[in-house]
C-alpha cells in the first residue's frame, strides 16, 4: 500500500543519527575541513551507533538486520546533513563489506566480515574511479588478467581511507565486464599514493592508488567464479550518493532560510523579497523531489528489482539538485556566504563533487 511514512524502526534510526549529526558532527565540521582530519572520537562515537554492523549477519559478528537500501538512504541523508566528509568516512566500511554481504561467497564472508565487526571503527574501502575525465565504470582502465589467480594493473583515485583499510575492493575489467576483487592490506603490487587534495570533502582522507602486477588469489574475486552483480552495486552506490546529496542540500537550504529571516536589507528581511524567497522555495521543492525519486529507486532495489533506470534518474536528478541548492545557499547569503565563517561555501564545494563521486559510498 502506498505510503510515504518511514517505519517506526527506520524513524528511530533517523532520530538517533539526526541527534548525532546535530550534537557531534555539526560542532566540529568546519574545524575538520580546515585541518583535513576528523577526530577519532567522532568516528568512534559514530561507530557505537552500530550503523555499519547493523546489516552484517549475526554469524559473522554483526547485528543481523536485513540489508535495506532504503533505510541506508534515510541515515545517509542525516549523516550528510551533519557533514559530508564525516558521513563518507563513517560509512566507508560499507564500501568493503556490503558487496560481500550481498554477493560474497561464504568463504569471503567468513574471512572479511568479522574484521569490521569489532568494538572500534575499522576501515575498509573500495577503489572504482580512475583519474581521467572520461572515466566509465563499465569500461575500466584497470584490468584483471586470469593467471591461476588474477593479476591487476591500473590506476585508481578517490579511494577513501585507502591507507588504513583492512582490505580494499578493487574494481577491474575482466573481458567486457567490470568485476570486483578483494585486495588485502599490504598486498604486493598495491601502492597507495599521496593523500589527495580536492576542492571539497577536505576532511575525508582519500588516496590515489596504483596496482602494478598485483596478484590476488582466484577466490578473492567477489562472488567467486561467476563474479558479482556489478550493475546492482553501482545502483546501490547511486542511491547512497543521491541520499548524501539530499542531506548536503538540506543543510544549505535550512541555513540560508534562517539567515533570510534575520538579515535585513532596505528595511526588511531579505526573505521578504521574492528574488530571495523564490530561491528558497525552489530549494525546498527540489530537495523533496530528489528525495522521493531516490526513495523509490532504493525501494525497488530492496525488492531486488532491476532498477538501473530509476537509480540513474535519481542520481542525475540529485546531482543537479545539490548544485542548485548549494549555489543558492551561497547566493542568498551574499558576501557572507563566500567567507569561511559561514558553512554554505563548504557545502557549495562539497555539492559540486557528487558528479565525480561515482562509487564512493554505498548503502
Amino acid at each position: 500500500m502506498l505510503s510515504f511514512s518511514p517505519s517506526e524502526e527506520q524513524q528511530m534510526i533517523v532520530n538517533t543519527v539526526k541527534q548525532f549529526a546535530n550534537d557531534v558532527m555539526r560542532k566540529k565540521f568546519r574545524e575538520c575541513d580546515e585541518e583535513g582530519q576528523i577526530p577519532a572520537e567522532i568516528i568512534n562515537t559514530a561507530w557505537e551507533l552500530g550503523l555499519v554492523v547493523s546489516c552484517i549477519p549475526e554469524e559473522y559478528g554483526g547485528a543481523g538486520w536485513e540489508h535495506s537500501a532504503l533505510t541506508g538512504t534515510l541515515l545517509a541523508e542525516e549523516l550528510a546533513w551533519g557533514d559530508l566528509s564525516m558521513a563518507m568516512h563513517i560509512l566507508s566500511p560499507w564500501l568493503g563489506v556490503l558487496p560481500i554481504v550481498e554477493m560474497g561467497t561464504s568463504e569471503q564472508k567468513k574471512k572479511y566480515l568479522p574484521a569490521v565487526c569489532g568494538g572500534k571503527f575499522t576501515a575498509a574501502t573500495a577503489a572504482l574511479i580512475e583519474p581521467r575525465f572520461d572515466f566509465d565504470h563499465n569500461d575500466l582502465g584497470t584490468i584483471a588478467k586470469k593467471n591461476g589467480g588474477y593479476v591487476l594493473n591500473g590506476e585508481k583515485c578517490f579511494v577513501p581511507l585507502a591507507q588504513d583499510a583492512a582490505f580494499t575492493l578493487v574494481y577491474a575489467g575482466e573481458g567486457n565486464a567490470s568485476q570486483c576483487f578483494i585486495v588485502d592490506k599490504g598486498a604486493k603490487g598495491l601502492k597507495i599514493g599521496e593523500r589527495e587534495k580536492n576542492m571539497g570533502i577536505k576532511a575525508l582522507a582519500t588516496y590515489e592508488l596504483s596496482l602494478k602486477d598485483c596478484k590476488v588469489p582466484a577466490e578473492h574475486k567477489l562472488g567467486g567464479e561467476k563474479g558479482c552483480d556489478f550493475k546492482r552495486l553501482t545502483n546501490l552506490s547511486r542511491v547512497a550518493l543521491a541520499a548524501l546529496a539530499v542531506g548536503v542540500a538540506r543543510g544549505s537550504f535550512e541555513f540560508s532560510r534562517d539567515y533570510a529571516r534575520e538579515r535585513y536589507a532596505f528595511g526588511e528581511p531579505i526573505g521578504s523579497r521574492q528574488a530571495i524567497a523564490f530561491m528558497l522555495a525552489d530549494m525546498a521543492i527540489e530537495i523533496d523531489a530528489a528525495r522521493l525519486l531516490n526513495w523509490e529507486a532504493a525501494w525497488l532495489l530492496d525488492k531486488k528489482a532491476e532498477a538501473t533506470r530509476e537509480c540513474c534518474l535519481a542520481k542525475a536528478y540529485a546531482d543537479n539538485m545539490v548544485m542548485l541548492c548549494t549555489d543558492y545557499g551561497v547566493q542568498v547569503m551574499g558576501g557572507h556566504g563566500y567567507v569561511r565563517d559561514n558553512p554554505v561555501e563548504l557545502w557549495f564545494r562539497n555539492g559540486r563533487g557528487f558528479v565525480a563521486f561515482t562509487g564512493m559510498a554505498i548503502v
Partner: protein, 393 residues
C-alpha cells in the same frame, strides 16, 4: 513503511482510465483541437454513461492518477467530460451535507451536467482579494452583481446542462478578505448570463467563458460557509481547503500531458533505432540522452510530489505546503518537458501532423490556472520561511 506499490485494485482502475484515454480520447484529440467549440458529443455521452467508474470524480491518489491517464489521452477532453468539476470540489470542501445533497446529487442522475467555479475577474486573477463582485443580502436572498472571466466549463454548466457554478463575491468590501464568500448558483437562474467564449492556445475542447451577474437572486442558503464576517482569514478558508485537493489534481493533469509527450518522444527516437542508455557516464552521453534523462527524472519527481500530496490528504495529514509544491513543480516540469520534446523533434515537433506541438500548447495552462507557478512558489516560500502574506508579498 515507505511503499510505492499500489494495490491490484488501484492499478486496475488506473489501467481502465488509460484504456479510455487510448481508445476514446486520443483518436479524436487532434480533431477537437482543430474544431474549437464543437461539442465532443460521443465523448460526453461515453463519460457520462460511465460516470459510476469515477473517471473524473475519484479522490485521493487513485483519482488523481486516473486524471493523469485521461490527460495523457487529451487534457481538453478530460476537462470537457461531464462532472462536478471545480465547482463540485468547492461545494464538497466547504459545503454542508444538505448542500452536498442539493447541489451534488444531480451529478449522479439524469442528463450530463457540469460544475464550474468563478473567481477570476477582468481586473484580478492572482490577487483574489481585489474581487469586485458583490453579494448583497435581501431577506431570504442574496443578490449577486459582477463579471467573472475565464470560467472553465461555464458554457456547458450553465447553457447546456442543469449544472452549477460557485461564484466568489464580497459581502462587505470594507472587510477585505474576510468579506469574501462563495455562493452556488444553479443553471437557469435569472440575472446570470454566459457571454464571451474564449479562443485559446490549447485545451480547446474545454470551454472558457465570461459569466455576468446582473441582480442575480439566489436563496440565502446557497452561501458556502458562514454568512458572518469574522476573522481576517475566514472567508478564504473554503478556497484554501479546495486548493489542497485541486492543486495536486491540476498537477496530475499537467503530468498526464507531459508523459504523453515524453512517451511519444521515446517512441519516435526508438523508431530511429536510438535507445536511451541510462548507465553511461556524463562524458559519453549524447546531448539527446542527457536531455531525455533530465526530462524523465523531472517528470517522475513531479509525479511523486503529486501523489505524496494526495496521499497526505487521504491520510488526514495537512498538505497545503506539499499541494503547492506539487503544483509549482508540475507546472514547471510540464513547461520544460513538452517544450523540449518539440525542440528535440525538430520539424516533426513543430508540425501539426504530430501531437508534440499540441502537447506543448495544452501543457502550458497548468502553469497558469489554479494559481500560477509564481503564486504557488509564493505559497511555498511563505510556508518555509514562516512569513505571513504581509511579510512576503
Amino acid at each position: 513503511m515507505i511503499d510505492f506499490e499500489l494495490t491490484a485494485e488501484e492499478k486496475a482502475k488506473i489501467d481502465e482510465a488509460h484504456e479510455v484515454a487510448l481508445k476514446y480520447f486520443r483518436p479524436v484529440s487532434r480533431y477537437y483541437d482543430e474544431h474549437e467549440h464543437e461539442e465532443p458529443q460521443d465523448i460526453i455521452d461515453f463519460m457520462w454513461s460511465n460516470r459510476s467508474k469515477g473517471f473524473v470524480t475519484g479522490l485521493g491518489v487513485v483519482g488523481a492518477m486516473m486524471v493523469e491517464e485521461l490527460c495523457w489521452g487529451d487534457a481538453g477532453l478530460y476537462l470537457a467530460s461531464p462532472g462536478p468539476g471545480l465547482g463540485g470540489a468547492a461545494v464538497f470542501a466547504a459545503g454542508t451535507q444538505e448542500q452536498w445533497r442539493k447541489f451534488l446529487a444531480r451529478f449522479g442522475e439524469g442528463k450530463p451536467k457540469w460544475g464550474a467555479m468563478a473567481m477570476t475577474e477582468p481586473g484580478c486573477g492572482s490577487d483574489t482579494s481585489a474581487i469586485q463582485a458583490t453579494a448583497t443580502r435581501d431577506g431570504d436572498f442574496w443578490v449577486l452583481n459582477g463579471e467573472k472571466i475565464f470560467v472553465t466549463m461555464g458554457h456547458r454548466a450553465l447553457d447546456l446542462s442543469e449544472g452549477i457554478i460557485v461564484v466568489w463575491a464580497s459581502i462587505d468590501k470594507s472587510a477585505g478578505r474576510a468579506g469574501m464568500k462563495s455562493f452556488v448558483v444553479e443553471a437557469g437562474t435569472p440575472g446570470m448570463k454566459v457571454e464571451k467564449k474564449e479562443k485559446k492556445l490549447g485545451i480547446k475542447a474545454s470551454d472558457t467563458v465570461t459569466v455576468t451577474f446582473d441582480n442575480c437572486r439566489i436563496p440565502f442558503g446557497n452561501i458556502l460557509g458562514k454568512a458572518e464576517v469574522k476573522s481576517k482569514t475566514e472567508g478564504f478558508k473554503g478556497a484554501m481547503a479546495t486548493f489542497d485537493v485541486t492543486r495536486p489534481m491540476v498537477a496530475a493533469q499537467a503530468l498526464g500531458v507531459t508523459r504523453a509527450a515524453l512517451d511519444m518522444l521515446r517512441d519516435e527516437i526508438d523508431k530511429q533505432g536510438i535507445k536511451i542508455r541510462y548507465d553511461l557516464p556524463r562524458s559519453k552521453q549524447t546531448a539527446l540522452e542527457h536531455d531525455f534523462i533530465e526530462m524523465e527524472a523531472n517528470l517522475r519527481a513531479a509525479h511523486l510530489l503529486m501523489i505524496r500530496a494526495m496521499w497526505q490528504l487521504g491520510s488526514g495529514l495537512s498538505n497545503a505546503l506539499e499541494a503547492s509544491m506539487s503544483k509549482a513543480k508540475a507546472g514547471r516540469a510540464a513547461t520544460l518537458i513538452t517544450q523540449r520534446a518539440v525542440e528535440l523533434m525538430g520539424p516533426l515537433g513543430y508540425s501539426r501532423k504530430y501531437l508534440f506541438e499540441k502537447f506543448m500548447r495544452d501543457a502550458k495552462i497548468n502553469d497558469i490556472f489554479e494559481g500560477t507557478g509564481q503564486i504557488n512558489t509564493l505559497v511555498v516560500a511563505r510556508r518555509v520561511l514562516g512569513f505571513t502574506r504581509d511579510q512576503l508579498k
